[in-house]
């Protein structure tokens, strides 16, 4: 025999579940634009029989909410984190290389290497045609200065970029620490909440957003424990374990121009990022391209230095790449005679060192060691040339103000394809540009690949977890009618009970 109020009880449960469903739908709809929000669904099941009627049939006992679950595919999360790391790395790489291009690029603006170098070359031609005129000498000096300034300026801009990348390293490390701390805190809250039966869905969403961001900075491996806590490790070392987060710290590395070096704070072990923005920043800051890693700013600084050294050595001494002073093809600037009837004057130098000082440097340390002191950052004309344009050695031998055989030699030298291992100065510079632009184009392509992969995975994630207002509207309608129906049931039972009560004649 059924209990009297079973019907009303069943209807009431139905009302409660419909109400809960409407609340969840409302919550979903409200969070439609919340970053990282995963849609939630009400899990409901039929409540088992409470009474056996007539021995054979079993009556149901209504409905109940078992849980409110979030819809999320953790496999997609893992893939998203992997791809996001790649995307972070290549987008940093691409934007830095594009900036580098604007420093070194030749094809777009007017104040470029070719213009500067062609001016110098034209200045020498004019000097060759008219060596007795001090104005042609002055313009050779100015154009020579322009080459030095171009190299100085490019080099210092590259150094600045290197410093920017260095502060980027610090920022990235600070961000990693902050994310790790927040993730650990959320882990603790989630574990605590799960124990007490509280709703932890929104905390999990927040945690996922933080892990998304963390994965952009460095490659991570995320594992989730049974208690819904996460463990995050980078290159085999655990960063976050449940409620505990380790910290990274930066120290200034004196062996690397005082740039930041990343260490684990507790063990003091060196930290190496596995991809991501941080790896890009470190590569750009440190890589000289020697061990087939991505070529960073030091590579380009080295190339400019090599350019400055080779140019200075060849122009001053007539010694081309791979030659020694004994088998030099040209006599160079030092081999010519100045308008002051002296020889041995060096045209290029560093930090305005005089030609004499450079010469004694060469005789005491050897030519290669002396010219290694010249970098793109410090190349200048020698003080002798700066002080007196007559120190430009135009003539090959004494014999007149219009002798310009040495300038003629210097012009051939500048056009000599053996000056650098890879050709003329233009060829060498061109090869720097072509390396840079190819690398930059590759980085841009990889960035766009990675970002479309990230986008497609994110699409899939949204497809699974995202809130769709059409769907929620449909659900709302569904739950609303269920609610109305249950309410109607209450009304029917009420009438039934009324009838039963009315059957009892209290007046009898």
């Amino acid at each position: 025999m059924n209990a009297t109020f079973t019907g009303i009880n069943i209807a009431t449960r139905g009302l409660a579940v419909s109400q809960a469903s409407i609340s969840v739908t409302t919550n979903n709809q409200s969070n439609a634009n919340t970053t990282g929000y995963s849609r939630q669904v009400v899990k409901q099941n039929a409540v088992g029989a409470a009474a056996v009627y007539a021995g054979s049939a079993i009556l149901g006992n209504g409905v109940q909410v078992t849980s409110v679950d979030q819809i999320r595919d953790t496999r997609l999360d893992q893939r998203y984190w992997q791809e996001n790391t790649r995307s972070g790395e290549w987008s940093s790489e691409a934007s830095a290389l594009t900036e580098l291009e604007s420093v070194l690029d030749d094809s777009s603006s007017s104040n470029t290497f070719s213009t500067t170098f062609n001016n110098f070359y034209s200045g020498l031609e004019d000097l060759e045609n008219n060596p007795s005129d001090s104005s042609t000498r002055t313009s050779v000096r100015s154009y020579g200065e322009a080459i030095c300034q171009y190299l100085n300026d490019s080099s210092s801009r590259l150094e600045d970029m290197r410093k920017d990348e260095n502060s980027m390293v610090k920022t990235d490390v600070d961000e990693i620490n902050s994310y790790a701390r927040q993730i650990a805190d959320l882990n603790a809250a989630i574990s605590g909440g799960a124990g007490s039966g509280a709703n932890i869905n929104s905390l999990k969403d927040q945690r996922n957003v933080l892990i998304d961001k963390l994965s952009n900075l460095t490659g991570i491996i995320v594992t989730t424990t049974k208690t819904d806590s996460t463990t995050i490790s980078i290159n085999g070392t655990i960063l976050v374990d449940g409620g505990d987060a380790k910290e990274l710290t930066v120290i200034q590395d004196s062996s690397n121009d005082g740039m930041y070096k990343i260490q684990w704070k507790d063990t003091g072990n060196d930290f190496t990022p596995a991809g991501g923005e941080l790896k890009a920043a470190l590569d750009l800051r440190d890589s000289d391209g020697s061990n087939s890693t991505n070529k960073g700013i030091p590579y380009y600084i080295n190339q400019l230095n090599k350019f400055a050294q080779t140019l200075a050595k060849a122009f001053n001494e007539g010694v081309l790449a791979g030659e020694t002073s004994a088998n030099a093809s040209y006599s160079g600037h030092a081999g010519g005679e100045t308008a002051n009837n002296t020889t041995g004057i060096r045209f290029f130098s560093y930090n305005n060192t005089s030609s004499g000082d450079l010469k004694s440097e060469i005789s005491s340390n050897g030519m290669d060691a002396a010219y290694e002191k010249i970098t793109a950052a410090n190349i200048t004309l020698s003080s002798d040339i700066e002080d007196d344009v007559n120190n430009i050695a135009a003539a090959s031998s004494s014999g007149g103000s219009s002798n310009s055989d040495n300038v003629s030699q210097l012009i051939s030298l500048l056009k000599d394809s053996k000056m650098f291992n890879s050709g003329t100065p233009e060829d060498f510079y061109n090869s720097i540009i072509s390396t840079l632009s190819t690398d930059s184009a590759t980085a841009q392509r990889r960035e766009s690949n990675a970002s479309s992969t990230v986008k497609s995975i994110d699409d899939q994630r949204t497809s699974v977890s995202g809130v769709d207002s059409n769907e929620e509207t449909a659900n709302l309608t569904k739950y609303q009618s269920a609610y109305t129906a249950c309410a109607k049931m209450v009304e029917v039972w009420n009438e039934l009970l009324q009838k039963t009560i009315d059957m009892i004649d209290t007046t009898a």
């Binding site: 439609a32 634009n33 290389l97 594009t98 291009e101 604007s102 690029d105 030749d106 094809s107 777009s108 070719s114 062609n118 070359y121 034209s122 031609e125 004019d126 060759e128 045609n129 008219n130 007795s132 005129d133 003539a395 014999g399 007149g400 103000s401 219009s402 002798n403 310009s404 003629s408 012009i411 233009e426 510079y429 061109n430 540009i433 072509s434 840079l436 632009s437 190819t438 930059s440 184009a441 841009q444 986008k455 699409d459 899939q460 949204t462 497809s463 699974v464 995202g466 809130v467 769709d468 207002s469 059409n470 769907e471 509207t473 449909a474 309608t477």
Partner: protein
């Protein structure tokens, strides 16, 4: 695949953004008329661009060189032609003086004219172009030819002879002097100045201008090639002419020993008409110099033609390499614009509707 409203919106935005990027690139190409903005847009084009620009600027420089060379040579040619006229006039005077019907005052007038012409010859040889003396070899900043007077002896009985110097060295020290000059003094003058005689060096002082990739043009004519060296040089001949017009029939020159020092003088007789042959030789020398120069001028002209052809070619190559084809760029631009606008209007229609609108 389940599609949500937000996916619809973000996909639309993504596509709009891509179309906008294409639109931006197309409009940039159209407005800059250049195929590439940064080298990474097309490394191949960028590398070629630097090469071509280099060629163009080198050729520009060569054109400048050739034009400077041509000016230099045309100034030189003018001077040589003037000099030829001067020598030709001297020759005419000598013919006139040699016909035997002249009075002594006629001869002295002619002599004065020839004296004047000798100075004109020196001035012509000191022709300069843009402040640089064209006949001086490497010494372009001082006038190469000058007249000097060499003297010896104590006061009261000094002997002096007029000579011409080239770059400070005497050209005609061994040349003829009047027989009235004291031969001992003359020998002394000779020996005093023997270290200061012009002899051309073993290397020519050729001024070469680069006129092309690996080619050079020698632009200058050196004075000694015009004036001549040795005893029959222009100034020796002019000195003889002046002596002859002054009525002399002989001149004296020094005799030298094996080490080149003067030991005394010898007297040689001559006639005015005999000098005509010497003057013809001088004229020949000037003609030869002029012809040589003319050949170089025409090669400079050829070089200039070739360079201007090269300039056009390389400019064209440069333009083909880095400049956009306007028609293509315009088409691309309009297509990008259409696609962009279409995607905007499609998105506007797609993202505004939801089920709520129909409930």
């Amino acid at each position: 695949m389940r599609i949500t409203n937000n996916m619809l919106i973000s996909n639309n935005l993504w596509n709009i953004n891509n179309n906008m990027k294409r639109y931006d690139e197309a409009s940039q190409r159209l407005s800059t008329q250049r195929k590439i903005g940064l080298a990474s847009d097309d490394p191949q084009v960028a590398t070629q661009a630097v090469k071509y620009r280099n060629y163009v600027s080198t050729i520009d420089q060569y054109e400048k060189n050739v034009s400077a060379a041509s000016s230099w040579m045309s100034v030189t040619e003018g001077a040589l032609s003037d000099l030829q006229d001067v020598v030709q006039q001297v020759r005419d005077y000598v013919e006139q003086g040699a016909n035997g019907s002249n009075t002594s005052s006629d001869l002295s007038n002619i002599k004065a004219d020839v004296q004047q012409l000798k100075e004109t010859a020196i001035q012509t040889l000191n022709t300069s172009y843009a402040g640089r003396y064209v006949f001086g070899g490497y010494s372009t900043d001082t006038a190469p030819y000058a007249e000097t007077t060499l003297t010896t002896g104590s006061s009261g009985s000094t002997t002096s002879v007029d000579k011409v110097t080239f770059k400070g060295k005497i050209v005609n020290l061994d040349g003829p002097v009047s027989t009235s000059t004291d031969s001992t003094d003359y020998t002394t003058i000779y020996n005093n100045n023997i270290s200061n005689v012009y002899t051309s060096g073993s290397t020519k002082e050729s001024m070469k201008y680069n006129s092309g990739f690996g080619t050079q043009i020698t632009v200058n004519v050196e004075g000694q090639d015009v004036v001549g060296q040795g005893s029959d040089n222009l100034f020796n001949t002019l000195d003889k002419v002046l002596l002859g017009l002054g009525g002399d029939t002989s001149y004296q020159t020094v005799t030298t020993d094996s080490s080149g020092n003067a030991t005394g003088t010898t007297t040689t007789s001559f006639t005015l008409s005999g000098l005509l042959g010497d003057l013809d030789e001088c004229l020949d020398r000037i003609s030869i110099a002029t012809t040589g120069l003319g050949a170089r001028e025409s090669s400079a002209e050829l070089a200039s033609d070739r360079l201007s052809n090269d300039n056009t070619t390389y400019n064209k190559l440069m333009s083909n390499n880095e400049d956009v084809d306007s028609a293509e760029a315009t088409t691309e631009y309009s297509s990008a614009k259409t696609v962009y606008e279409t995607s905007l209007s499609a998105a506007a229609k797609a993202i505004t509707k939801s089920l709520l609108d129909y409930i």
